[in-house]
Amino acid sequence: MMNNSGASAAGSSSGSGEGQAPRRNSKRPKYSRFTQQELPACKPILTPRWVISVFTLVGIIFVPIGLVSLMASRDVVEIVDRYDSACVPPNMTDDKVAYAQNAAIDKTCTRILKVPKDMDQPIYVYYQLDNFYQNHRRYVKSRNDEQLMSAKKANDSSGCDPEATTGNGTIVPCGLIAWSLFNDTYSFIHGNKNITVNKHNISWKSDRDHKFGKDVYPKNFQNGALIGGAKLDPKKSLSEQEDLIVWMRTAALPTFRKLYGRIEVDLKANDTITVTLKNNYNTYSFNGKKKLVLSTTSWLGGKNDFLGIAYLTVGGLCFFLATAFTVVYLVKPRKLGDPSYLSWNRNPQGH
């Protein structure tokens, strides 16, 4: 350790035979292409050809998608009818809240809808609420999934405040979401015939099968001092209460639609449909609109041009860019790998 030949250079010399410390090759790093950072690599560069082709390609893909989406959206026929203010009796328009809260008043209301175009079955019936914060944190958290799932946890109401218990015990289903269940009802007459609204399978299958128990029955529901929304049939298990299941999937935005049911009848253009509805749900307190929506669907879902327009915009922009780059490139081309663009050639004094 001490006698390192390298350091005793000071004049000590004995020809070539001076003891070299034995080579300690143990510290020698092992060669591998990985450790030497020499792994084979693909090093693509953005040549003008690439740039133009990429933009063109995106345009080619996006514009048709946009057109197809737009067409799909246009194929959808949608009837939207706002009824919240129209269904208030003229004498109570000044105090809509009182109207809504007064259980004694009959809330029945009749609306006539006109079918603008042919609508093939199934036609979906939605209710649309506006300015309703189903995504409020207090609201979203106020539920208990365990209780909904199995009867064993029926007494578990943690997280359900402030709608967890009544004087009689735990509420099933507990929480604000269930408590505020939407309770307007609609019935349709087409011509003279009543149209049945099929309310089966309007919720997610997995919700019915796994999240809402077949052995869980409503208990103490809407028995408290405050009545929120709809009441539930205590005889039916939660997994059969599809309105509740749909309602319990909270919407992301304060304006939302929820599926009410399906009409399995084809409607022709200019048909009229009479809707008899019970305007029970109080949206007047918070100035929320209520709408009834009848809509067909396409492969893309409901009526919304946004997707198509967005695709067309991006696709169009890409076409434009491809052209712009082509033009600019033709006007002022740069030879690739042209050394005159190197910084030391561009401004030699810059060094």
Binding site: S14, G17, V58, Y133, P162, G302, V314
Partner: protein, 1244 residues
């Protein structure tokens, strides 16, 4: 343990030495005077504070009890120990603002304020902090292992009864008597008792302490001389009273009490830890200071924790993001308060009147709710702050460090040391270095002298032609032949690396010297690289002046203070000399056939070998006087009497001094010799002139009496008298010749400096050595060259002992600096280069507060700066001045303990490993085994690491902004209630799993250009030094990109999923569906973004980028299959709802494309019309233009160097200018005389 050293008979050096180490009988008496008076106050410690240490020599028990139980010799440089690790390391971790924020968030997450579940806050934090702490622990463990290596060295310690045995260093205690053998390090600070020399002197090499290479003489007290073997320590006792531990290396105050007598001690009796015993077979010493009390450890400062500039800037960005976070939270909570106050009362479905005791959603106290909500919001938008940024950077840096450690091209076969990144947090700083401050000895040079050339009687000998001449000649030749390779000469030269110049092995230089260019010399003999057959094997006999040559050799063999040592294995001699040059001379003399073989008290014996006789003749030269070398005299002489009785004065010394002392008829060769000396000097060789004088008996004896009188004189002017006496005889000399010794540079140093200079780096040399040596090295490294204007700053020689001497000197320095600055300002020649050479003394003044900025601006204007005779402290001060004054990144490189201060002070400290002495390496951030590896470390690894880290950080901010802001937009739609649209698990995984690996792969594997190109185009390095990739423009650009992406992601999703059904089955999208789709868009967009950012795809990047996207879908699948109690609304979401919905896939594609569009436009446009250097080079490489058009490639490579005024290339350029100038004047004069219309060559 008997060694070769014991064979040598004991010499009494004081007989030979003239100046420093004589102890006069009188002076001992003089010492006795004060010691008597001291003995009166025996029991008292030395007066004054800080002198309370008492050492009881050879009484090990005395130091086991209080108050004398001094610390043991155990040293520890670790930051933590087992107990303190946890609290200290955790404290360190939470000093980072971001981590503290996340800790608070994690604490709050258990309350109902938090928008997230506790596990989603605590798990990532624990992961991140745990990983950093693990790294910290690993690094500390490495330090511990290093310490233990030192602690477990062994030393011979007196065990009692005159027996010595080996003991670990860390077990040595104060008062122990130790025996140190030749070439061993002192284990602690020792008091020298006796040595292998009869008069108790020993030689010490203090390179590790102050970087000085010459040996220092220490001497023991007369009284302890009898203790000269193991047995004599049986009954030895003494008491030392001395100063307390302090960091001053050059002072020591204390006294030794032995047998009731008190003797004063001074620094010349103290041997310091980490210095090394040289030229002395053994010494005995008693331990005074141990472990952390030793002077060297006292000098050690706590290694500062360094952070790179990029990281510091990153902190600022984090602060900006914090500001954004607070701002956004304030908006959010204000919105919440307003909504709660005004609207919530009407939201009956929330039952606002039934507050659950907390005031979280209470319309009656909106202010309070708002404040609570502020906390919620601060946690919710925490995703703006990339929690995993620090840990990702740390992972990346460790991997980058691994690549540095594993780089075979920085592995030194000779010492077996690979490069080592000792702290990994400075990798990217390597790519931004502006100034390199380098130590000389051991860093640039190997501290080995090689005899290379000589000039005897006006004839130059020694064939090795200077490399500069070769390169310049070659280039001119190629230009004149109209060769296509232009300007590439200098570069090609290095790249061929001595494998010859291909087609033209012989080049005719201007001077008509034909020099053969062969493979790099491989000196068979250490210290001797001379190549010229005219002098070897006795051929000198047939040269013109054999007599002078003989004299030359004899001066080499006789005029020195070395001791020969027989190597028993080879039968040859090795020499123990005070300075390496002397050793080289003796080796040279031996090779010429004049082997110095024996020294006695009075004579030197030389075996002279002549071709005429087979057996060497042993001649005795009686040494009558020896006039030593010192830095003031700059010469040494001996007066000898040869076998014929002839009296001779042989003298060697600095040429200027010798030339002044030549006699009239001794100047025969002066002109030729001084021409040769200039050439040697230009080539960076150390030169000495040799001269002699014949003395008459009478003259000598007259002088000798004078000299003896001076020698025995007393008092302060003794030295002056001695000098005067020496002066009297060292005159009327006859010049014999001159020697040129190469201070051997480490392999590849000039090339490396050249490349570094081309990369635009400035190089300062800070050395403890003499100015001459430093200047020589400056020439050898091409930091200096002929024609460069040297500005030398040194204090006036006048030693004014007046009150305002300091002031006068200071004013003088001030004036020198001002003048020099003026001179530089007035310089008009663009090629003019200045070199600043400053002396340590002048530096003391120049570094004072009021002058240092002026000094710095002068130094910055100079092409190269060399500071000589600087103390370790000054090295650190200079480093600090450069660092703080210029605000640029400094790198300090050194190998010895004297460089520790500078290494710690600089932004990056690099230690040279492989040489003994670990202090520099231990204090360093990176260690390499050779200076030349610095090029690769900076130009390749630094460049890569800088770009990688810069891109990585920018991307991190981008992705977190893109993600975090979507949360904010969503808040506006939830009445600012603090609800997140994403599942908690998505959020945890976002930073930890789904986006971290691609960015880590970017940070580890990205290469803009290959390592070869980095080295071929050193100017690319300036991209880092100019900080092109982490400037505010770029950072803000990335942030804007993040903002844009967040807007796209959120509003496209909201618009598309607005209210309508998203499936043929009529179901509308709920929060889980929208959140998941949005999150999918984010994952795709940011991963696509990183793919666009990368330019180098190995399978790893491809796998990681695609893998991240795939992982997201797989996770979604697995999460959906878990219990609905865990996954909630995400239960079977992908399978049942999203995957069957074409709109889900359509949105992902649309958003991913839309998000990346602006970036794509930006990089396409930039590359097309404003390409950066690496873009063009990538293209050249891509189209293999470098292979097709090699001329262009070579031309660009030569242009790609930073126009530099230092380095080999600059020197070649200067030489070319000079030669062309000459040629030009020749041609013009020719054309002036003859009216023949010969057009001048194109080159002009």
């Amino acid at each position: 343990m008997p060694r070769t050293g014991r064979i040598r008979e004991k010499l009494r050096w004081s007989k030979i030495y003239t100046f420093s180490c004589i102890r006069h009988p009188e002076s001992i008496n003089a010492d006795a005077g004060p010691s008597l008076s001291l003995s009166l106050s025996l029991s008292l410690p030395l007066p004054g504070p800080g002198h309370s240490r008492i050492v009881r020599c050879n009484q090990p028990r005395a130091h086991k009890r209080k108050p004398l139980d001094y610390p043991t010799n155990y040293i520890s440089t670790t930051k933590y120990n087992i107990v303190t690790f946890l609290p200290k390391a955790i404290f360190e971790q939470f000093r980072r603002v971001a981590n503290l924020y996340f800790l608070l968030a994690a604490c709050l997450s258990v309350t109902s304020i938090s928008p997230f579940s506790p596990v989603s806050m605590i798990a990532p934090l624990a992961f991140v902090v745990g990983l950093s702490m693990a790294k910290e622990a690993l690094e500390d463990w490495r330090r511990f292992v290093q310490d233990m290596k030192v602690n477990l060295r062994k030393a011979l310690v007196h065990k009692g009864n005159g027996r010595f045995s080996n003991k670990f260093w860390h077990k040595i205690r104060v008062g122990d008597v130790v025996r140190v053998e030749k070439n061993q390090f002192f284990p602690a600070d020792l008091l020298l008792l006796s040595s292998g020399y009869e008069d108790g002197i020993c030689y010490v090499e203090t390179m590790n302490l102050d970087g000085e290479t010459n040996l220092k003489v220490k001497r023991s007290l007369e009284v302890t001389l009898p203790f000269e073997d193991d047995r004599s320590f049986k009954d030895f006792t003494a008491t030392i009273r001395c100063e307390d531990p302090n960091p001053s290396l050059y002072t020591f105050a204390g006294n030794l009490e032995h047998e009731r007598q008190v003797y004063a001690l001074d620094p010349s009796q103290v041997l310091l830890r980490d210095s090394k015993l040289r030229n002395t077979s053994y010494i005995y010493g008693v331990v005074i200071f141990t472990g952390h009390d030793t002077k060297v450890m006292q000098n050690a400062t706590e290694s500062p924790s360094k952070r790179s500039r990029v990281e510091k800037k990153m902190d600022r960005i984090i602060y900006i993001l914090f500001t954004v976070l607070v701002l956004v939270s304030l908006i959010s909570s204000l919105g919440f308060a307003v909504k709660t106050k005004l609207e919530m009362p009407s939201w009956w479905y929330l039952q606002p009147q039934r507050g659950d005791n907390s005031h979280l959603y209470s319309p009656s106290t909106p202010g309070l709710s708002g404040i609570f909500h502020l906390v919620t919001a601060l946690i919710l938008y925490g995703y703006l702050i990339p929690i995993s940024l620090y840990v990702s950077i740390e992972v990346v840096k460790v991997l980058q460090a691994m690549f540095i450690n594993q780089d075979l091209q920085m592995y030194d076969e000779e010492t077996g040391n690979p490069a080592q990144a000792r702290t990994s947090n400075l990798n990217e700083e390597l790519g931004q270095v502006d100034t390199i401050l380098s130590d000389k000895t051991g860093t640039l040079t190997c501290n080995q002298m090689d005899f290379l050339k000589c000039s005897i009687a006006g004839f130059p000998y020694g064939l090795s032609s200077s490399e500069v001449e070769i390169a310049a000649a070659k280039q001119i030749a190629s230009e004149e032949s109209g060769g296509s390779v232009q300007n590439g000469g200098g570069i090609d030269y290095w790249e061929n690396g001595g494998s010859g110049f291909g087609s033209s092995p012989e080049i005719e230089l201007e001077g008509g010297i034909t020099c053969k260019i062969e493979k790099p010399r491989k000196p068979m003999i250490r210290g001797f690289s001379f190549e010229d057959d005219r002098l070897m094997q006795g051929n000198w006999m047939s040269e013109p002046n054999p007599g002078t040559i003989l004299l030359f050799f004899r001066i080499l063999a006789v005029c020195h203070t070395a001791i020969p040592e027989l190597d028993e294995e080879t039968g040859g001699f090795t020499y123990e000399a005070e300075s390496p040059d002397e050793g080289a001379f003796l080796v040279a003399a031996r090779e010429f056939g004049f082997e110095f073989c024996r020294r006695t008290q009075t004579s030197v014996f030389v075996r002279e070998r002549y071709p005429s006789s087979a057996e060497p003749i042993e001649r005795e030269f009686k040494i009558l006087n020896l006039l030593e070398f010192n830095s003031k005299r700059k010469r040494m002489s001996v007066v000898i009497r040869d076998e014929n009785g002839q009296l001779l004065l042989l003298c060697k010394g600095a040429d200027s001094i010798i030339f002044d002392r030549l006699s009239k008829n001794g100047r025969m060769y002066e002109a030729d010799t001084s021409k040769h000396l200039n050439e040697y000097g230009e080539a960076g060789l150390r030169t000495l002139a040799l001269a002699y004088r014949k003395l008459e008996e009478s003259e000598y004896s007259a002088w000798n009496t004078e000299f003896l009188k001076a020698k025995t004189a007393l008092g302060p002017d003794r030295e002056a008298q001695l000098e005067q006496a020496a002066d009297m005889i060292e005159k009327e000399l006859v010049l014999v010749g001159a020697t040129a010794v190469e201070d051997k540079l480490q392999k590849g140093v000039p090339q490396c400096i050249d490349k570094l200079a081309q990369a635009g780096l400035k190089i300062w040399v800070l050395t403890g050595d003499k100015m001459e040596t430093a200047v020589n090295i400056g020439f050898a490294c091409s930091l200096l060259r002929q024609g460069m204007k040297q500005i030398r700053l040194s204090p006036m020689n006048k030693e004014l002992i007046t009150q305002d001497a300091n002031k006068a000197v200071k004013e003088d320095i001030q004036k020198q600096i001002t003048n020099a600055s003026q001179m530089i300002k007035l310089e008009t020649d663009p090629h003019a280069a200045f070199a600043l050479i400053i002396d340590g003394k002048a530096l003391t003044y120049a570094l004072e507060e009021d002058m240092k900025h002026q000094f710095l601006s002068l130094a910055v204007d100079c092409a190269s700066v060399i500071c000589c005779r600087v103390s370790p402290k000054q090295k650190a001060l200079v480093t600090r001045l450069v660092k703080e004054g210029t605000g640029k990144v400094t790198l300090a490189i050194g190998d010895g303990a004297n460089d520790v201060g500078m290494i710690q002070e600089a932004d990056i400290g690099v230690g040279i490993s492989g040489v003994e002495g670990m202090q520099a390496v231990m204090a360093s951030d990176f260690s390499i085994s050779q200076f030349r590896y610095l090029e690769r470390l900076l130009v390749v690894h630094g460049h890569w690491c800088y770009k990688r880290i810069a891109q990585m950080i920018c991307y991190f901010f981008y992705k977190n902004i893109a993600f975090g802001l979507t949360l904010f937009y969503f808040e506006a739609y939830t009445g600012f209630s603090g609800q997140s649209v994403y599942d908690d698990w998505y959020m945890i995984l976002f930073n930890v799993l789904l986006t971290s690996l691609p960015v880590i792969s970017l940070g580890v594997f990205e290469q803009d250009v290959s390592s070869e190109v980095c080295l071929q185009f050193p100017a690319l390095y300036q991209q880092g030094a100019k900080n092109l990739f982490f400037d505010w423009y770029r950072i803000i650009g990335w942030m804007a990109n993040g903002l844009y992406s967040s807007l796209m992601i959120f509003f496209l999703n909201i618009g598309i999923f607005f209210t309508q059904a998203f499936l043929r089955g009529g179901q509308t999208a709920d929060m889980a569906a929208i959140g998941t789709t949005m999150f999918t868009c984010i994952i795709c967009a940011v991963n696509m973004q990183i793919a666009l950012t990368m330019s180098h795809f190995t399978w790893i990047q491809i796998v990681l980028v695609w893998g991240s996207i795939a992982t997201w879908y797989l996770f979604l699948l697995a999460y959906g299959e878990s219990s609905p109690l865990v996954s909630g609304d995400a239960f079977r979401l992908l399978v049942e709802a999203l995957a069957p919905a074409p709109i889900f896939w359509a949105v992902t594609l649309l958003v991913a494309a839309a998000c990346n569009l602006p970036y794509l436009i930006h990089i396409s446009y930039q590359r097309l019309y404003n390409p950066m250097d690496h873009h063009v080079i990538q293209e050249i490489k891509y189209y293999k233009k470098d292979v097709e058009d090699q001329i262009m490639w070579t031309r660009e490579r030569s242009k790609a160097r930073w126009a530099t005024k230092i380095g080999f290339t600059a020197r070649v350029d200067a030489k070319i200018r000079q030669l062309k100038g000459k040629l030009h004047s020749k041609v013009s004069s020719l054309s002036g005389q003859t009216v023949v219309a010969t057009p001048p060559p194109d080159v002009l």
